[in-house]
């Protein structure tokens, strides 16, 4: 999407504002890769990625008259995508208590290795780690989850997260702190249950 320099975004937006359906189609096709990546990173359980992507694009078209060009259009759309994902994460019920028994064999081995500071890791371990990370993230409040995921997995800065979510830097830090405290408790519980 971003590397497609030949795409005339300004012209396309102008045509969309004049209700040109072909331009709207081009805009969706142009932005889809960026939006689907955000959706796949923050997709709540039991929500179809296509439905969520469609909802994001419909919101974009509804608000397109409000876009003033103060930020790049892709940033503006990213923000809509992130806030829509947060709304869906808020709407879903939190998972029941996280137990050691919920982990697959790979994930349990992985957690054991990480807790005992083993370093040997291959691709399968990385995949197991990712699965485990997402299970842990599911235990967090949606806003806290979003912040910690953007910070620690996508390695965004506080300023970038503020721009994406519309939250102040202080709020982002508070949510990161709260998420880490919750993760601390989760690890403690897992350690205790593993031992028992």
């Amino acid at each position: 999407m971003a590397d497609d320099q030949s795409f005339d975004l300004a012209g396309c937006l102008e045509r969309v504002r004049k209700r040109d359906q072909a331009a709207a189609r081009e805009l969706v096709e142009h932005l889809h890769p960026m939006v689907i990546r955000i959706v796949r990173s923050h997709l709540p359980r039991r929500v179809s990625e296509e439905d969520l992507t469609q909802e994001i694009f419909l919101k974009m078209f509804t608000r397109i008259e409000q876009y003033q060009g103060a930020v790049p259009f892709s940033h503006w759309v990213s923000r809509i995508a992130v806030t829509t994902c947060i709304d869906h994460l808020r709407a879903q019920k939190r998972r029941p208590e996280f137990r050691w028994a919920d982990l697959s064999e790979n994930e349990a081995d992985m957690l054991d290795a990480v807790m005992t500071n083993e370093n040997a890791v291959d691709t399968a371990d990385a995949l197991a780690a990712r699965e485990l990370v997402y299970k842990l993230l599911d235990q967090l409040r949606p806003d806290d989850r979003m912040v910690i995921q953007l910070l620690d997995l996508e390695q965004k800065t506080i300023a970038e997260i503020s721009a994406l979510t519309g939250w102040t830097g202080s709020l982002v830090k508070v949510r990161a702190f709260r998420a880490r405290r919750r993760l601390h408790k989760l690890f403690q519980e897992l350690k205790r249950k593993e031992g028992s």
């Binding site: 081009e26 969706v28 694009f57 078209f61 990385a126 390695q155 690890f187």
Partner: protein, 103 residues
């Protein structure tokens, strides 16, 4: 296990998760997706305009009715007077008879 330990565990886990292979799924729009979304977007905005009209039309009708009633009430006395004045007006000379009478 203190918070520093768990912080390190999380940091290691997150670092490992980042090393997982990138999502290899196709990220282009599925066939027909863009067409459907574009059609829905324009249909939605037309529906919003129509629903705004539907919402305002009954109110406009009520307001118009109230204005009609109010204007009749305000001007009722003048309607009565003018009707009475017409009835009481004396018959003036017949212009046709006068015209032929003069000739």
């Amino acid at each position: 296990m203190n918070s520093h330990d768990t912080r390190q565990i999380w940091t290691r886990l997150a670092a490992l998760a980042r090393r997982a292979p990138a999502d290899s799924r196709d990220d282009s729009a599925p066939l027909g997706f863009a067409t459907r979304v574009a059609a829905l977007a324009f249909e939605e905005s037309e529906r919003r305009v129509a629903s705004l009209f539907e919402m305002l039309a009954p109110r406009a009708l009520w307001i118009a009715a109230v204005l009609v009633v109010a204007s009749v009430l305000v001007n009722y006395s003048s309607f009565g007077l003018s009707a009475g004045a017409e009835d009481a007006a004396p018959t003036v000379d017949d212009p046709v008879a006068m015209l032929f009478g003069q000739s």
